[in-house]
Assembly symmetry: C2
Homo-oligomer: 211 residues x 2
């Protein structure tokens, strides 16, 4: 790994722990055992380091989310005959659960994801752009995905009637909530993981139509 990438990695680590203002150039240079001056051969300013971290994370996030959403985009564009509906819908219901659990497990175990999320959490009020980015990434992306899928599941009669948007919030918001506790209090990781699994399971028991 070259020096520039090492700087980005260390800066993210520091920013996510102590925030932008709480992190000095020495804090970044120190653990890498280089001088502050060396950093300025790779970046114009401290702000530029922050900006590049955000930019890089945006690309990685998009890649991850595209892969995660593959099933939906397939299903959404396909016209189904009546025989297919139940099979497809059943897969979608299971897919929804697996999907959100995959998202949670990756988001909470991957150190890079955790650091970016922490950094954005403590920087969300720094600018309009960062606030909007936070909402899009950690709220609306999954919420919009779930909303579409719930729309399909309702049509297919797999789950009881309801507004897809409300259902999506009832399904996904508790997941965000427990991830927040998990981030703030890592010792409660197991408890939060179980709570999320239990929530996902109970949600489908409660909303699923008996057939």
């Amino acid at each position: 790994m070259n020096t520039k990438e090492l700087i980005l990695e260390e800066a993210l680590k520091q920013f996510s722990q102590k925030g932008y203002d709480g992190t000095s150039m020495s804090d970044i240079a120190g653990p890498l055992e280089i001088s502050k001056a060396a950093i300025y051969k790779h970046f114009e300013s401290k702000q530029q380091i922050f900006d590049e971290i955000i930019e890089e994370s945006e690309e990685k996030y998009k890649d991850f989310f595209e892969k995660l959403s593959v099933h939906l985009t397939n299903g959404g564009n396909k016209k189904l005959n009546k025989k297919d509906v139940n099979v497809y819908a059943d897969i979608s219901a299971k897919g929804l659960c697996e999907n959100v659990l995959t998202f949670v497990r990756f988001s909470m175990s991957d150190e890079y994801s955790r650091r970016v999320r922490r950094m954005l959490t403590i920087s969300q009020f720094q600018s309009k752009e960062l606030g909007e980015m936070y909402t899009k990434r950690y709220v609306e992306a999954m919420l919009g995905y779930d909303e579409k899928l719930f729309g399909q599941l309702i049509k297919a009669g797999v789950i009881k009637k309801g507004e897809p948007k409300v259902l999506a919030a009832m399904f996904y918001a508790p997941v965000i909530m427990y991830m927040g506790i998990w981030d703030r209090e890592p010792k409660r990781a197991k408890e939060c993981e179980r709570a999320i699994e239990n929530h996902v399971e109970q949600f489908f028991l409660m909303t699923r139509n008996k057939t």
Copy 2:
């Protein structure tokens, strides 16, 4: 208002916007048109200002939440005969809605509450204590309250069966989620308020037993 209180007020304003490290003593002294040195006649250090804000907010928070929870503590200890159950439960269901909407409206319109919540949001990873305080105040307090009430509503047969804890999360987590968007993007206030009202309404349509 005396100088010490003015300093606490201005410091909270600054901390909630720019964070602890992003706020200097000059930032606090400037708007009050006093010198930095004057602040040190009232506080030993910048950290002490922060600590006193937290301490003061804890008291105010407890007072507010006690008042909000009055109905529950009455109902929880009272033994009800069968005739009372339906009346009481119906009041509780309405009370739950009114309760959470009162909480939301106050939390989002009161400038002091907004500032404390913003400050804690961007400080939640600074220490174990602040992280735990955030969870208790903005997640577990209401969640625990709702859980107890859902337990009663299930017993009374007002709403369909389900784990009270899961129901409480499905009810309250979307509220937190929309409050988060509201805080980050104030121009979406109306949209978030409507979303919360709609969620609360739909939730009871979906979970209520037909009698």
